[in-house]
């Protein structure tokens, strides 16, 4: 990289805000989708909107590609700099700028870790509802870029329903202040459009978020089944009966065993074929009747046991098992490919069967853990990235699973984003005209296509130059 540009960037972010030594760049080669890697030329860590904007201005003048990065927990390769260039990270932007308990919103820097926000507002009886399983590491900026979900988004909705405003650094370094938090600003919903744009529209530096009052009563039920099918059918029935718990999650046998062998051990029975974790929140009477209805549904299926968490500690433990599931799977294979697809909730059991079959046909091991209430499947394939043949089979299975879901009326991703991973399949789900509309919108934000190039919209559609992303 040009020495004078480097000096100018260092003058903005200081020595501590600039990473250029090759060994220190290694962690920025990929996000959680470790199968695809590319080293950036440089990493910048600005401390606020002003510094980020100054960096973007300089990089605009030099026409360098930029990838915004939060904690790098993304699972679709979103923060992987496939075209090289500069990664601009939010690791030094972690402040809560304003906590307004009266109007129930918070204004935070984009690098704030998701779980920190709920901790900050807990004393005020409020919490930040979207709770990705990675919430102890992932950032609000990353959540905004991916429109992340989480177990409790079944009741509360994904990130987009909680973002009231944004401050955005645009491709040329100009700052777009949409910080809200007024409902229904005039004109187009730019904030809603930005959420889920996977870093291709610029960088969010500040986010205004809606805070939610904590529910007075929470009951957590664990239902144990001898197989996935019965667990899925119970969920389909809950949805058809229009019951409204706050979270509905399923873990299969391989996942249960991995969790129970790990530090996240939650007390799930290891001989179970599947467990269903259901949370019901609200007023005491409402929780009681809804739980009763849910138990009645379980009883109509071959349920082995239904347990209710006795106290908050047991509840936390049950959730720690679910949220630690991906991490725990590190015990059963060196690498994990986390697929993420959505299907109509009437087709849960059918699609889970199909994913098992697809993995079996390719000689792969599958561990399934997913947001069943939202029809968001996560068939996780265990593999070893040092085995190129297995990597090929994993990618092939991933493709086959997504195509089956699309054929069943589903989509490519429920929460992890398209990134680089599902780029090719975008053409399976969307027509040329659909993608052309997306490209036009992208062009309005980033006419030079330097913001996270090679992501989300396939190159044929946008005529984009994408560096080959090779498995390491």
């Amino acid at each position: 990289m040009d020495a004078s540009l480097l000096r100018a960037l260092e003058a903005v972010v200081g020595k501590d805000g600039l990473v250029s030594q090759p060994t220190r760049l290694v962690p920025y080669e990929s996000d959680g989708l470790a199968i695809l890697r590319q080293r950036p030329d440089l990493v910048l860590l600005p401390r606020d909107t002003g510094e980020a904007a100054a960096c973007y201005r300089l990089l605009h003048e030099a026409q360098v590609p930029i990838v915004a990065r939060g904690a790098g927990t993304g699972l679709s390769g979103g923060a992987t700099p496939v075209a090289g260039g500069v990664v601009v990270g939010t690791a030094r932007m972690r402040d809560v700028l304003e906590l307004n308990t009266e109007d129930r919103y918070a204004r935070v820097q984009a690098g704030l870790v998701n779980a920190s926000l709920s901790r900050e507002c807990d004393p005020h009886g409020l919490f930040y509802a979207p709770d990705p399983s990675s919430q102890r590491a992932c950032t609000i900026g990353g959540n905004v870029a991916e429109n992340s979900g989480g177990p409790h988004c079944f009741k509360y909705g994904a990130t987009t329903q909680h973002v009231l405003g944004l401050v955005i650094v645009q491709h040329d370094g100009t700052v777009l202040d949409l910080s809200g938090p007024i409902v229904d600003p005039d004109g187009y919903d730019l904030v809603g459009l930005f959420v889920g744009s996977e870093g291709t529209f610029g960088m969010a530096t500040e986010v205004t978020l809606r805070l939610t009052p904590k529910p007075p009563v929470v009951e957590t039920l664990l239902a144990v089944f001898d197989g996935l099918e019965a667990a899925c059918d119970s969920v389909t029935e809950m949805i058809a009966e229009r019951l409204e718990p706050s979270a509905i999650e399923i873990l299969d046998q391989l996942t249960i065993r991995a969790v129970e062998d790990s530090v996240f051990a939650a007390g799930y029975p290891t001989d179970a074929g599947a467990v269903l974790l259901v949370e019901v929140e609200g007023l005491e009477e409402e929780v009681a009747v809804t739980s009763e209805d849910i138990r009645a549904i379980f009883a109509r299926h071959p349920v082995l046991e239904v347990r209710s968490a006795r106290d908050p500690e047991e509840r936390l433990k049950l959730w720690a098992g679910r949220k630690g599931a991906f991490g725990a799977m590190g015990r059963i294979a060196p690498d994990l490919y986390v697929a993420d697809a959505c299907v109509p909730r009437t087709k849960l059991a059918e699609m889970v069967r199909a994913t098992i079959e697809i993995a079996r046909e390719r000689g792969l091991r599958l561990a399934t853990v997913f947001h069943a209430g939202d029809g968001n499947l996560h068939p996780n394939i265990c593999y070893d990235r040092r085995d190129p043949d297995e990597v090929e089979r994993v990618l092939d299975a991933g493709r086959a699973i997504l195509e089956r879901c699309v054929d069943a009326g589903g989509s490519l991703t429920g929460e992890h984003g398209v990134g680089i991973e599902k780029l090719e399949q975008m053409e399976y789900l969307f027509s040329e005209a659909d993608l052309a509309a997306m490209c036009r919108v992208r062009d309005a934000w980033d006419p030079e296509r330097r913001m996270n190039p090679g992501k989300l919209v396939p190159l044929r559609a946008c005529g984009e130059i994408r560096a080959a992303a090779l498995p390491s």
């Binding site: 109007d103 991916e146 429109n147 979900g149 909705g157 987009t160 329903q161 777009l176 202040d177 949409l178 007024i182 409902v183 229904d184 600003p185 005039d186 004109g187 187009y188 919903d189 730019l190 809603g192 459009l193 889920g196 744009s197 007075p216 389909t236 949805i239 058809a240 229009r242 019951l243 409204e244 609200g282 007023l283 005491e284 009477e285 409402e286 009747v289 809804t290 959505c342 109509p344 909730r345 009437t346 968001n376 009326g409 589903g410 989509s411 991703t413 429920g414 929460e415 984003g417 975008m426 789900l429 027509s431 005209a433 659909d434 509309a437 997306m438 919108v441 062009d443 309005a444 989300l456």
Partner: protein, 417 residues
Amino acid sequence: MSDAIRERLAEIVGADGVSTWVEPGGRELPLAVPRDTDAATELVRFAGADRLALVPFGLGTKAGWCSPAEHADFALSTRALSGILTYEPGDGTVSARAGSRMADLAATVREGGHRLVPEVTRPAEATLGGVVAAGASGARRLRFGPARNHVLGVRALMADGTLAKSGGQLVKNVTGYDLHRLYCGSHGTLCVLLEVSLRLFALAERELAFTGETTELEVALAACRRLGEVALAPEVAAVVGRGDAWRVTAAFSGRAPSLEAHTGEVRDALGELSLVTELEGAAAEAAVATVRDAELAPEGSWPTLRLAATRSKLAGATELLLSAASELGAPPPRILTHPLVATLDARLDGDGADDLARELATVLAASGVHARWPGLPHDLRRELELDPPAGLAMMRRLKDSLDPDGVFARGRTRGGI
């Protein structure tokens, strides 16, 4: 010119599909009502090829929310493109053509145990496409959130005459950009919505509403604030009235035992009101419908002033509104407010209404709330809505990128988009 346009429109949609539409503001436009997607597509292509500008709309129930276009050659109504495409009771989702009437959709999904949201005024006429394009969030927004949260996907006719979908019919989905969120509230300036998928909600086991009266607005607002603190979360907490006659309406729905257990707290919250009445089921729904319809004046006009704010700022703005009216000796404004959502509609009338509007525009801008003037004459409205919305340059870029030739008439939303 207009005759030539009418002729071409008639070729595309048939002579009986062509009539005249009087835009709010009085301009008459040739109106084409296509009966199928092909005809709608051809209309857009015709506009593109002949460099004409068209105004898409449904039945025009919310056309007054926009300014008249700077220039328009004809209007395209989606009213005849109606019907449910798929209703999946087991999945809690519905997809329908844009011209479907909200009341028809609500009746169909009700049979499957679902509630259609948003619940908007004039449901028998309001079309699904129009409601979404206007971003109308309805009377129960406090509980269900804004309209854009329920739109799962759309199929839209773009300026170049192609059909493009965004999203799908899935309750969770992040595949591609959320263009449907962009189109929601874009008032037909970016595309013609042809199909919309919505998320549905469960019909509640029990519905309750309370109404109460007071002579003081402050008492009514305080009751709403207290409603915001009761255990039973309200779906509606609204105040309607003027001068010294104010009515609070609160609505709740949910599981029967929790409603039974907590109505005492609701009554306490409403304790300072008189004539407090408790309503159940259909009567409760009717009370909410009264709030919903208070948006419109009996003769069908929209409120003069529409405010959006945060809860705390709205309280200050409401005071400003009343004191400005009394200082100028104007008749007290008629108000509909949802203080917990932080929105307010006001109707200013009498001789001094224009002066009051001018005075208010200045003080409100300084108070940090957001003011729109849908019911004012358009010249005055343009004068008052001078400050550009945040992000106007980006909005223009989006418009130019999606509709470079201005097929969808320009100048209808604030900032002239």
